[in-house]
Every structure is written in C-alpha cells, then in structure tokens.
C-alpha cells in the first residue's frame, strides 16, 4: 500500500496506521523515530488526524514533526 507523507511516497503493509507511515517516513528521511509520537498530522483536506487513524491505498497525509 503506497501512502504519501509530505512529498515522500512510502510503501507499507496493508492495514497500516498513520503512526507506521510516519515511522517509515522518519527512517527514509533519517529523522529520529521518537519524533513520531508528538507529530501533528493532517489529511488531504487539512483536518487533523491522530496516529492511530487507519490508512488506505493512495492516501496523502502531511505531518509536522516536533
């Protein structure tokens, strides 16, 4: 399942949640994984979503890491 985090496309297992997309994004961008838990995440409409939110194929999310 491909999901876009900011401008980075990450490939994840089926059933992954927002938290998993951010973990992969941080690994890909060589950022500390501890930053995931405090992240602010938004869907394609700009609404805030939480780290446990489910993801679907092709979804776009944006995150602000702290």
């Amino acid at each position: 399942m491909k999901v876009k985090v900011n401008r980075t496309v990450v490939d994840l297992f089926e059933g992954a949640q927002v938290r998993h997309a951010l973990l992969r994004y941080c690994v890909r961008r060589r950022l500390g994984l501890s930053r995931v838990e405090g992240a602010e995440v938004f869907d394609a409409y700009g609404h805030r979503i939480d780290l446990d939110a489910p993801l679907s194929e092709g979804q776009t999310i944006k995150c602000k890491l702290k």
């Binding site: 399942m1 490939d11 994840l12 297992f13 089926e14 059933g15 992954a16 949640q17 938290r19 998993h20 997309a21 973990l23 992969r24 690994v27 890909r28 994984l33 869907d43 394609a44 409409y45 609404h47 805030r48 979503i49 939480d50 446990d52 939110a53 489910p54 679907s56 979804q59």
Partner: protein, 478 residues
C-alpha cells in the same frame, strides 16, 4: 383602530403558532471511542446536563467502541466494560465499526445481547447461526418528529471490514453506497434522516454527493478532527479524533416536517470539569480487572535474558500465525527476567505493552536477511530476536557497530535457502521501521502480538526457555 389591533393580534398568534411548529433535535455523537473508559465519567456528565436541557436528545456512536485498551479488551467477556458504560450513559444507537468484530462473531453477538441500545448497520447480513441482532435502521419519535438513523460499516478490499478474516466468516457484507441507497424511503417516513457511518471522512464526503435525501452524516473510522461539522453537498458531516477526546453536539431544527437548520459544535470530554459519580465508580471497578491476574501457563524455570524472552515471544507469533519464521525488534522485548511460577496476562502485557498488530509477510530468504539488518539499523537495541531460524551476526572489525554479514541457518543447523519464499510474522512497528527492498510489505492480521503470546502460553501449559539462544554475535577477522 379596532381592525388594526385585531390584525396585529392575529399576526402575533400566527407567529407564535409558526414558532411552535419549529422543533430542535439535539444529538451527542461520539466515534472511535476505542475503549477509552477513563473518559466515561466526563461523557456521562455531559450527556446528563444535555438531557436536562434538551429532552429531545439522541446519543449516537459511529462505531469502533472497543479495541485499544486491555482493561476492556481482555475482560472476562471481552469488551463488556464498554457495553456496561454505554448502557449507563444511555446511548440510543451505535453502528458497527471494523473493530466491533475483533472478538469474533460469537463475541459480537454476546455484546449485542448485553447492550440496551440497538446496533444499526444496513450492509451486514450475518448468518442466522450467530443470532446477531443488528437492524439496518432505527426510527426515533420525538413527540411526533421522526428521526431515522441508518448505519453503515466500512468494507475493505477483502470484502469485509478491516478485522481478522476469521472474525468475518459467515457475515455477508454489501457495498456501502448501493446499500445505503435502498433506504431512501426513510425520507418519506421521517423528518430527519441521519447516516451513522463508519467509512471514514473522505468517503463520507464522496458519498454525500449521491445522498441528497440524507440530512447529516455522523461519521467515524478515519479519526478526523472536524471543527464542529462541515457542509458537503448540502449534508452536514461530523467526526472527531479517537479515544473520546471530544464529542459533537449537533442541533437540527425542523419546521413543518423539513430540516431548516443544522449546526454542530465540539465539546471537550477529557477536560470537562464534571464527572458522573456512578460512572466513575464503574470505571474504578472495571480498572481492577481480575482477568489481568489470570494464569496462562507455568514457567518451570526462571527466564534470565532478553534472548530467552524474545525467543518465547517470537515462538508464539510463529506458532499462532502458522508462519515459518518470526522476529521482533529487540526494543519490543520490555523486560529481561521473570521468576519461575505462574505466567499471567499481566506479565504478557508488561512484556509486549505497545498494542502492536501482527503483520505477516511473504519473503525470500534474502529479503528476510535484508529486513533483519534494516531492523537492527533502526532499532537501538541491537539485532532482532528470532524464531524458526538461527542467526550468526558478524560485525565489521573496523566499525564494530556495523553488520558485515548475517549467516542464517535452519534450527537443525542445515543451510538456509535464501531463494525460497517463507511466511514471516513480525510486529507492526518492526514492519514499519525495516525499510529494506522486498516485494511484499505484508498485511496486518488485525490481532495484537500480545494476544498471540497469551494464546501460545495457554496452549503450552508449561514452558522452559532456559539457555535458549538463536542469535550469536561475533566480529569479523578482517
């Protein structure tokens, strides 16, 4: 002059009559509560105060009431605390979320039978043998003003909601939009029509274009925080993030049988200053869950290392998922010793406390090797713990923190085939951080890794992992 006074009086009376025809329906909606039972005393206080002011109050849940809190999910009757608390608060209806299926068909049927509120969902067709009382819609009558609520649950690519496939057998599911459309006749019967949806915000917006006969969508599933509600295609859509941080108060004004206004506002639950004392006592009672002290098996000799406990954990995942191999990031093994004696549910939850899901992948031997190395590179606790293989990890002499090679063998010492495809189980955290080349990213089995450990220990009866070691480390000679 008399005629003039009479005309003013008539106008006042007509105005009063027209105002009398206008009626407000109030709704408190929650979604994706995920068993956040600690916030129920505040929720109950909110509902109590709203009911005192607005007798025409509907309390709705858009699904995923359970899963995510061991206090609830591991209760003697799994998820019963949520049902008892929802009964006490006085929920009027819930729809089914994908996690409502997490304790299987019989488990869901049991919870429904214990609920004082209906489960409203139009696109599920359970086999009669489950004796599952689910209604597609429910009409509420507020002194002549009728409110129709039709429910719907998300259906994934696999043809069922995102729960373990075994939990959805003999439960038929039909496509969301086509099925909801079959209830358009509710428009003729009701003054207000609500879609209680567990399909996620983006899909709520999509289907709103095809549902002009619906007044509002009370949504869930995507944990989307809306500021009050949003109008899309003339429908008001509401949703909040998960775990009962907020609920939405929706006001629908009906005049002459038509909805003339609809507004929504968020109410903070966590920070709400009042608590319902009865519900608070219930939460305290459920928090002292005796099920946590339940003995799963006997530990014959003490466990004395992360390696022994990691071997046990991964054995559990491998055996219970019928995989060939299992592995975990070492940081996922949370303690390194346990005395001989009873191995309890509490011990398992301390060992594997993160609520990670189990992910199963199909990997070649080479892909597995790459994934093990990638996990090590992104987990500060070292090389993973494994089951179904033996690993000789060789670190670079010049750079001892860097892995030079991993030689994998089968448990009997024979050569491991790097080209063969294996079924591999791991946890969702490891699957996310191991960014290595592989064709299959895997799929969640919608079962927590901790639940697999519990099942494994119960099946074993007694265990002894004294001296078990599967990962050996050395430094290269060159």
């Amino acid at each position: 002059m008399k005629k003039c006074v009479l005309a003013v009086l008539c106008a006042c009376l007509l105005g009063a009559a027209a105002a009398a025809q206008s009626k407000e329906i109030h709704i408190i909606s929650a979604n994706d509560i995920h068993a956040k039972i600690e916030n129920f005393p505040q929720l109950a206080a909110i509902v109590d105060s709203m009911r005192a002011v607005y007798p025409n109050l509907l309390v709705l849940s858009a699904g995923d009431n359970r899963t995510g809190e061991p206090l609830n999910d591991l209760y003697e009757i799994p998820a019963y605390p949520m049902v008892a608390l929802m009964n006490q608060v006085g929920f009027d209806a819930t729809t089914l979320g994908n996690h409502e299926f997490d304790s299987g068909q019989a488990g869901l049927a049991k919870l429904i039978s214990l609920s004082n509120f209906p489960y409203v969902c139009c696109n599920i067709f359970p086999a009669a043998k489950w004796n599952m009382h689910i209604t597609p819609y429910k009409i509420f009558d507020f002194e002549g003003t009728k409110v129709g609520v039709v429910g719907v649950v998300q259906v994934g690519a696999s043809g069922h909601p995102d729960s373990h496939p075994d939990n959805c057998t003999d439960l038929g599911f039909t496509p969301v939009l086509e099925t909801v459309q079959e209830y358009e006749w509710l428009r003729d019967e009701c003054d207000v029509v609500i879609l209680l949806s567990h399909i996620g915000y983006e899909d709520d917006v999509k289907i709103s274009a095809d549902l002009p006969w619906v007044d509002l969508i009370v949504g869930g599933h995507s944990h989307t925080q809306l500021e009050g509600g949003e109008m899309h295609n003339g429908l008001l859509i509401t949703q909040n993030v998960n775990r009962l941080q907020r609920v939405t108060h929706i006001t629908v004004t009906v005049k002459d049988g038509k909805v003339v206004a609809k507004t929504a506002e968020n109410i903070e639950v966590e920070g709400y200053p009042q608590k319902n004392k009865v519900v608070e006592e219930m939460v305290k009672y459920f928090s002292n869950n005796p099920a946590f002290q339940r003995v799963l098996c006997q530990l014959e000799k003490p466990m004395t290392s992360y390696e022994e406990l990691g071997c046990m954990m991964t054995d559990a995942w491998r055996v219970e998922t019928e995989s060939d191999i299992a592995f975990t990031n070492t940081g996922g093994v949370r303690y390194d010793s346990l005395p001989a004696g009873p191995f309890t549910v509490s011990d398992v939850l301390r060992l594997d406390p993160f609520g990670n899901d189990t992910v199963q992948l199909e990997l070649t031997g080479q892909e597995l090797k790459d994934m093990l190395i990638a996990t090590t590179n992104n987990d500060t606790y070292g090389f993973p713990k494994v089951s179904g293989i033996i690993c000789n990890v060789i670190f670079d002499k010049k750079n001892p923190s860097k892995i030079k090679d991993v030689v994998i063998t089968n448990p009997d010492g024979s050569k491991f085939n790097l080209k063969k495809t294996y079924k591999v189980a791991t946890n969702s955290y490891t699957a996310a951080i191991a960014d290595s080349p592989r064709k299959d990213q895997g799929r969640s089995l919608n079962r927590t890794t901790a639940s697999l450990i519990q099942e494994y220990l119960e099946h074993q009866g007694k265990i002894d992992y004294t001296g078990v070691q599967r990962v050996f480390e050395s430094v290269s000679k060159k």
